[in-house]
């Protein structure tokens, strides 16, 4: 019933995105905190390194991860605190995927041209 069905995929993706975001956050706070060394410190050199396209694509993946994890997190909260949430968990999950895609469109529209250098 559970293995290989929507619920398991939802869980695996939720866990992968959560773990990836937590690791990103640890790095992110460290690199932002380099501003403490001032305008002539390591910050600008570091950021210039991160502005290379593979890292910009990485940020897009981070954004996608946040949106999926947030919406699926709301789905989990609904399953936990409503009487009907568990019954509709599968359609709710397709809703999560649909909304994630929908939010992704304007994000990609804004950021892909920036990465390609044509914005």
């Amino acid at each position: 019933m559970y293995r290989g069905r929507e619920g398991q995929w939802a869980f695996v993706l939720h866990r992968m995105s959560g773990v990836a975001l937590a690791l990103f956050l640890l790095l992110h706070v460290i690199d932002i905190s380099l501003v403490m060394w001032g305008p002539d410190g390591p910050f600008n050199a570091f950021l210039a390194f991160y502005h290379q396209w593979p890292f910009r694509v990485g940020l897009v993946v981070v954004i996608a991860g946040v949106v999926y994890h947030a919406l699926n997190g709301l789905r989990i909260i609904m399953m936990d605190f409503t009487t009907w949430g568990v019954k509709y968990q599968a359609p709710l999950w397709y809703g999560v995927l649909g909304l994630t895609t929908l939010i992704g469109i304007p994000v990609l529209w804004k950021i892909v041209p920036e990465i390609l250098g044509i914005a």
């Binding site: 773990v19 937590a22 501003v35 910050f43 950021l47 502005h51």
Partner: protein
Amino acid sequence: MARAAAPRTFRDAQATYRTNGELAWWVFMRVSGFLLVFLTFGHLWANNMAFNAGQIDFDYVASRLAQPSVKVYDSFLLLFALLHGVNGLRYSIEDYIQRPQRRVAAKVALFTVAGIVFVLGVMALWTFSFSEMGDAVRALNE
């Protein structure tokens, strides 16, 4: 205890967790998760949609952190995202690392790193006055 099948209702959770501590974390994950929807979406909007993330540099961050509202906002983001994320990583450690010694070692490493990152994050937000620091550096260069 394997957490792969997390408890599904508040009453389930009460029955599953022997300690009030774990029950409190279960509630915290849901409350902080709800708040993080607004905190992370607002943060991503400011730095990716209202601005070109490929142009973030010292001046941009200093101009953001010179605003008290951004400092307060980022403090809540830091606090909730770090607690929520680190507790989530702890769940994964408890699921995948079985040997007691390794499990303890992994948790000690995780909490140490998280503690250092928290201190760095708070310092970056509160111990410098970015408007004054910018002025001071400009004065030096004149």
